[in-house]
Symmetry: C3
Subunit: 267 residues, 3 copies
């Protein structure tokens, strides 16, 4: 299934419209292109509805929010909703400032999102259980994160992805755990943002967003594992370049060898 979805991304080359932060905008575009889709990044209120309408998924990331950009996110998100284009939301730094809380509330009040991806602190806050975010980093332990993931999925009627040592993916009825990835991914700024881009690429080709999200996180994680194994990787800088290589080179054989997705059975 994961390998087939990757093939569909590469065959259909969906256009992924990003309204995203200034820090990792280039990385998100390159990750999107490497996995086989087409990126476009724009946040001008005057064109985001038109660009979203031409796209196959919309990725919204609030990493460096400004008033005009937030307006553009709402406008593009509403347009995407009207056209049944999936919206992926990355609530970067939710909990760190009031602006981020207000922005996420405004977005979720106005736009139905298909997939929300965040770290444990961000998703715990979304689930109403509180959390601590320092800058854009989750702080502390979240022992009930699987339950929080499901709760957030129910509240927002969407698929929720929590990134971590293992990624948790849930909607109102299913929970999956993806064990792919490498600790080195946490040493590079923007791997979380790139994950949201990859989630968008897969959501663009598959309507079951638990499946598409599990495939996306698995592919991204396997690329990270393959990169971490390479002899020419000596630290985060060479790892980042190599991660792009491995996203581009990812094939069915590697997916079959490394795929680690399991269903979480809950009572």
């Amino acid at each position: 299934m994961t390998g087939q979805l990757l093939e569909r991304v590469r065959h259909e080359k969906p256009l992924i419209h990003h309204i995203t932060n200034q820090v990792t905008i280039n990385d998100c575009a390159n990750a999107t292109l490497c996995i086989g889709a087409l990126p476009v990044m724009t946040h001008a209120v005057d064109e985001v509805e038109e660009m979203a309408a031409a796209s196959n998924a919309l990725v919204i990331n609030i990493g460096t929010p400004t008033p005009d950009q937030i307006d553009a996110m709402v406008a593009a998100g509403k347009k995407a909703n009207r056209l049944n284009i999936p919206v992926i939301l990355d609530p970067v730094g939710l909990g760190a400032t009031k602006l981020r809380t207000d922005t996420i509330k405004r977005l979720l009040d106005n736009v139905h999102v298909s997939v929300i991806k965040g770290n444990a602190g961000e998703i715990s806050i979304l689930a109403g259980q509180g959390g601590t975010v320092k800058g854009v980093e989750s702080i502390g332990q979240y022992d009930n994160i699987e339950a929080s993931c499901r709760d957030a999925a129910k509240i927002y009627a969407c698929t929720v992805v929590v990134t971590g040592a293992a990624d948790i993916i849930a909607d109102s009825s299913r929970t999956l755990r993806v064990g792919n990835g490498d600790a080195m991914m946490g040493r590079v700024v923007g791997t979380g943002c790139m994950a949201a881009s990859i989630l968008g690429c897969f959501a663009a080709v598959e309507n079951d967003h638990v499946q598409s999200s599990a495939a996306a996180m698995a592919c991204f994680g396997i690329a990270g594992q393959l990169a971490a194994k390479r002899d020419d990787v000596k630290g985060p800088g060479t790892f980042k370049a190599t991660l792009m290589d491995e996203l581009y080179n990812l094939d069915t054989a590697s997916i079959e060898q490394y795929l680690n997705i399991e269903e979480v059975v809950t009572i």
Copy 2:
């Protein structure tokens, strides 16, 4: 000629003022520095005229347009015109949204540009023959692109560069074809933007902009070919780092070995 122009860039170290997009701004600055010129990137309306006046070329790229930035492009472009500083225009995504069409019209109505560089879709639209641009990507076949390139050059009284498997460069009287480059360049976000930067570096030191543009595209393409050959390149991520290396290391011997510029004879 190409090798001599590269030496002039390195000797004169022209200052290349960019008003450009957020996605590839770092890549454009690094490509400019690697080829031997000095980059400066700023888009504040309050300083772009002063910065343009201190520069040797102005590169305008509409990849992530905002109202303030478009105003800055017009102001800087007019100032550059008054001082005979060459202006390079990269109409990124022309055809994808009305905002981009309006922006390019406003720019071309108010600023005389020396060089326009675009993909086949963008240039075909500029030539009045229509085209399809998905996000920022040219879609479809353009069998008469050499004629469209010449037509656009006549309409805007400038040099036009169409990037592709071979690059086409034309003004009202000459057409050149540059066969340098590697398919891997299309797997990295921003190589088109970087090409515009390199076009600016060469236009800053040579007033014959068909010649300067051919030399720029050849040097950039040869750097891409040399990068693609390197053993340590395993995909788009390592290729991108290596492309910068090869721009920096490019020498006359490599240019002589790989240079592929031919004149297109038309009746």
Copy 3:
């Protein structure tokens, strides 16, 4: 001392709030993470005070200034001052345009900065001795730069760092010279900006900002020296990736082997 300060950065993981330029924002974030601290980059007036208050240092860089961003710098800087959070200022391109002169004057009139880092032209201008900056590059010879560094430190009652072949660090009573670094660092856009980030990381853990700044510049320079030695570095592109690796891998043994800090005795 330098090795101990690096260990403190890695142990305390200070949050470094950047209000910085669009060109090198990703590099600054990655350099901060590689050295062991946590980066957060945001410039929205609506949240910078709250983000600065949660941070352990604030780095202000005027590389791509806009009116809203300058307001955010002043607001965040004042808040940091009230909370005794150190502020690092990188007056990028000071001298190139009136906007930059006015911005730096406004910042220094309203915010007490702990550390100012600039090139010779920028610092000479700050010291009232004039200088020439082309784009963001220092032009010309500055034979009295050590005296200018001390003068600027006295005028602004702070520590001043002048980057160059050797870095000069002074406050009103001491002057240090750091001989670490490699010429290749000047071939990559943003190493100056990254240096300001590293200065922020060390200022966050040590109140003696001459000491913290010397340790920061030495660590950054040693990482550059180690990167330049690596066999897999073939030019600026691979050097940049490797510089991040070496920041991450930097250890006490390398610091002891390469550390080159000397006190400048003045009469």
